[in-house]
């Protein structure tokens, strides 16, 4: 699954640690999600979208070109 997490984070000038603290997860989690090595659960994906005030499909794309 692709995502825009790194871009969204950079736009706000947040480090991975900053984002991790806001999401109450580890920095390793943020890094793994950003690099596409780990797909977050739906609850966490919604939390991420809510944090950036976006819809979930504006942050995550399923990689099949539907979004």
């Amino acid at each position: 699954m692709k995502n825009r997490l790194k871009v969204l984070r950079a736009e706000r000038d947040w480090s991975q640690a900053d984002l991790a603290q806001r999401l109450d997860v580890s920095r390793q989690s943020v890094n793994a999600i950003e690099t596409g090595k780990y797909d977050p659960s739906l609850p966490l994906a919604f939390r991420i979208a809510r944090l950036f005030d976006l819809r979930i499909e504006e942050v995550f794309q399923d990689g099949e070109g539907s979004a």
């Binding site: 603290q21 806001r22 109450d24 997860v25 580890s26 390793q28 989690s29 793994a32 999600i33 780990y38 977050p40 659960s41 966490l44």
Partner: protein, 149 residues
């Protein structure tokens, strides 16, 4: 507002310190109260109870640690236990068969000889370790099916 968490290492240290203190303390008490001997039924029961309490403590710590992890670390733990455990049990089965049919004796006949008593103890020891793992795996699957209906 993010929840404040103690680092996982803190829980692991508390776990280790607790288990060491408990096992050493209880072991000393049992040893003084019930000295080892041929008719040590009370001692066996007492030490088994100490082991059960120690395992209960470890289980509580494991559950607490797991709940404190974020989902990425939980996924890593599940991955490690499932695949690590499965591969480990598979390897142990190969070793079990190799040793059970006389592999060590074949490699070093002078030092290793699996007589009948030793062979029975070997089988019992292996089964005592592996069967509960498989039973736990099966139990967890059944628990999953029941709770996710």
């Amino acid at each position: 507002m993010p929840r404040r968490r103690l680092p996982l290492r803190a829980y692991m240290l508390v776990s280790l310190a607790g288990i060491l203190a408990f096992v050493l303390g209880a072991g000393l008490l049992v040893r003084r109260a019930l000295p080892p001997g041929p008719s040590g039924g009370g001692r066996i029961l007492a030490m088994t109870a100490v082991s059960a309490v120690a395992v209960g403590w470890l289980l509580w710590v494991a559950i607490t640690c797991f709940r404190r992890m974020d989902e990425f670390r939980q996924a890593a733990a599940k991955f490690a236990w499932y695949w690590g455990g499965s591969v480990g049990v598979g390897l142990s089965t190969i070793l079990y068969a190799f040793i059970g049919i006389g592999g060590l004796h074949w490699l070093d006949p002078a030092d290793f000889h699996l007589g009948r008593d030793l062979f029975e103890a070997y089988v019992l020891g292996y089964m005592t370790a592996v069967l509960p793992i498989l039973a736990g795996f099966l139990g967890a699957r059944i628990w999953w099916r029941i709770t996710k209906r």
